[in-house]
């Protein structure tokens, strides 16, 4: 019996010839990540309860100061300090200070730290993002992270795999974000519960690496354990200048067993949003066009990489944010910010009247720099719109791609980007 990519990676980690869905395995971890909310508890459990004095491999751990940093209040300053102290004491090689890293799920791929064929864990639910780079990556808890930091291994239940095949190509204006929102809308927020989502098909060939990361990022919004993609020329090109270690891609066997196969015609997917209050509340853009907005947020590990900011800037060029609306743009990493500065994107944002912030998770999880008040309506390029996610439980959040967000900021209501910009330049599509 053949194996899927996910099964192969877990089998290798466990030192076994093969594994099957449902198996519980003890597997070696190739790379681990924690941040300012999860390193303090994990470090405490590891040292005080497990009795470990050092971590298993300081070269294979990354720590970012991203969730509530730069510190939003005294409590988060303490978390930042504990995170910083632990990282220095343990000699963690990939520690990213405030102003030098950014959001973990952008930072790790852009530094070439999470690679094909690897088994990656992160103490953050969106750690599934890395799977677009042909690895098994999943979110874990703080006790799990403590175990990994101490031993370099952790137990896993081998997930069943769901295969998603995307035929044809996405149409003009329609982005990977629209595709994944559509898929989650079809299968629901628990449609892939504890399972692997394997994305494949012709449509992916035309989707760049950053947009692929947007798709695997949202695997958890369908309840999945991980999202994973095949290795191809696009992956290779992205990794060639970045990869910090040699790597070995994996492929699914032709006779691998899938619990279910879903087929979608990418050409038929419309520009869309997730309406409040759930990421699976998909609606075509036409259904919500004209919805009045108080805030537009372009940010997060989902949709604030350089390609996202380029599209937002193309729409905002020579336009102003509508009166009564505020536009907040938060790059997802320091490198993204540097590149945006080089390309003149920041000037475009500032001229349009947008608030440009430092790289942080910020408003996405209702942390700081853009939290919503009671009754406010926000269009956001983020991943979750549950009640209270971005602030007040009675605030309404719509999720969209960055071009729709930018156009809607200009119009003051949810708007199709073609009403602001005639055509998205082919070079940044």
């Amino acid at each position: 019996m053949g194996m899927t990519m996910t099964e192969k990676i877990l089998a290798r980690g466990a030192g076994r010839e093969s594994v099957r869905p449902g198996d519980l395995v003890l597997a070696k971890v190739d790379f681990a990540m924690g941040h300012d909310l999860t390193i303090p508890p994990a470090g405490k459990i590891m040292r005080e309860q497990m009795g470990a004095e050092k971590i298993w491999d300081p070269d294979r751990v990354a720590v970012t100061q991203d969730h509530f940093q730069p510190a939003k209040d005294a409590a988060s300053a303490t978390l930042g300090r504990l995170t910083r102290e632990f990282s220095h004491q343990m000699g963690i090689k990939w520690y990213f200070e405030v102003g030098q890293g950014g959001i973990c799920h952008t930072v790790l791929p852009e530094h070439g730290l999470v690679l094909p064929g690897e088994l990656v864990v992160g103490a953050d639910s969106h750690s599934c993002t890395y799977g677009a780079l042909n690895n098994f990556a999943t979110g874990i808890g703080s006790t799990d992270l403590a175990c990994v930091l101490a031993l370099g291994e952790l137990w896993f239940r081998v997930p069943e795999t769901l295969k998603f095949v995307y035929r044809n190509r996405l149409q003009e204006w329609v982005e990977a974000k629209d595709l994944i929102l559509y898929v989650i809308g079809q299968i629901g927020v628990d449609g892939a519960r504890s399972k692997a989502m394997e994305h494949t098909g012709e449509a992916l060939k035309h989707i760049d690496m950053e947009a692929r990361l947007t798709m695997t990022n949202m695997a958890i919004e369908a309840g999945a354990k991980n999202g994973i993609m095949e290795f191809d020329e696009v992956t290779k090109e992205y990794l060639d200048p970045r990869a910090k270690r040699p790597y070995k891609p994996v492929t699914s066997d032709p006779d691998a067993e899938y619990e279910k196969v879903f087929e979608f015609d990418a050409e038929k997917v419309e520009l869309g949003v997730a309406k409040p209050m759930s990421p699976d509340n998909y609606a075509p853009l036409s259904e919500v066009a004209g919805t009045r907005l108080d805030q537009v947020f372009i940010g997060s590990c989902t949709n604030s990489r350089i390609t996202d900011l380029r599209r937002a800037a193309a729409v905002l060029e020579n336009h102003k944010v509508a009166p009564g609306v505020r536009l907040i743009i938060t790059p997802s990493s320091h490198q993204v910010a540097i590149q945006a500065e080089k390309e003149g994107l920041i000037r475009t944002f500032l001229a349009a009247g947008a608030a440009w912030t430092t790289a942080t998770c910020g408003a996405c999880l209702g942390g700081h720099m853009g939290v919503l008040g009671e009754g406010e309506v926000c269009l956001s390029t983020t991943n979750r719109n549950f009640p209270g996610r971005m602030g007040h439980p009675k605030a309404l959040v719509y999720l969209s791609n960055p071009a729709v967000a930018a156009a809607s900021a200009v119009a003051g209501v949810i708007t199709h980007p073609s009403e602001v910009l005639a055509k998205m330049p082919a070079s940044i599509r």
């Binding site: 874990i140 808890g141 006790t143 403590a146």
Partner: protein
């Protein structure tokens, strides 16, 4: 806490999508003076749930609450992922068995053999399969969870390093 190889008890049957808030509330009602579900549980009883057992927010206390009520282990059609991880990390045995979840009725006398991965129903004279735990997992459950298990493994490594160097 040690975990016996074979667990025997009476079945308490629950439906699908029991969430962590409900779990906490149910078990808390077994606190002395409150006499609802948890009050009727006898030490060692077995909870049989439907699909997606333990869904909802990640409340580490949910498995603790069930154990506190006297339930020795939980069998379900399927578990919500966070509940599954939390329970095992705390050394609390939970077993996935769609067969048992469908067939078992409230009050059935059950016996679960953790090493063999077999659930015997004495009331009905049935037998259901569930995944047997691999050795490391049995060890982890017997030791009382992930923290003591890591502590022991670290000690073994230190000893191995000392004897080889």
């Amino acid at each position: 806490m040690t975990l016996p190889k074979v667990v025997r008890g009476r079945a308490w049957k629950f439906g699908d999508n029991i969430d962590t808030d409900q779990i906490i509330k149910h078990a808390m009602e077994g606190v002395p003076g409150r006499d609802t579900w948890a009050g009727g549980v006898e030490q060692g009883d077995i909870l049989v749930g439907g699909s997606n057992f333990g869904c909802g927010s990640s409340r580490e206390i949910a498995p603790v609450a069930i154990r506190g009520a006297g339930i020795s282990l939980v069998v379900a059609d399927s578990f919500a992922r966070i509940f599954f991880r939390n329970a095992i990390n705390m050394g609390y045995p939970i077993l996935q068995s769609p067969q048992a979840a469908e067939a078992v009725e409230e009050g059935d006398e059950l016996e679960v053999d953790l090493d063999e991965g077999i659930i015997r129903n004495f009331t009905k004279g049935d037998e259901y399969r569930c995944e047997a735990f691999p050795q490391f997992m049995n060890e982890l459950l017997r030791m009382g969870g992930l923290v003591p298990w890591v502590r022991k493994r670290l000690e073994e490594r230190r000893r191995a390093a000392a004897s080889s160097g």
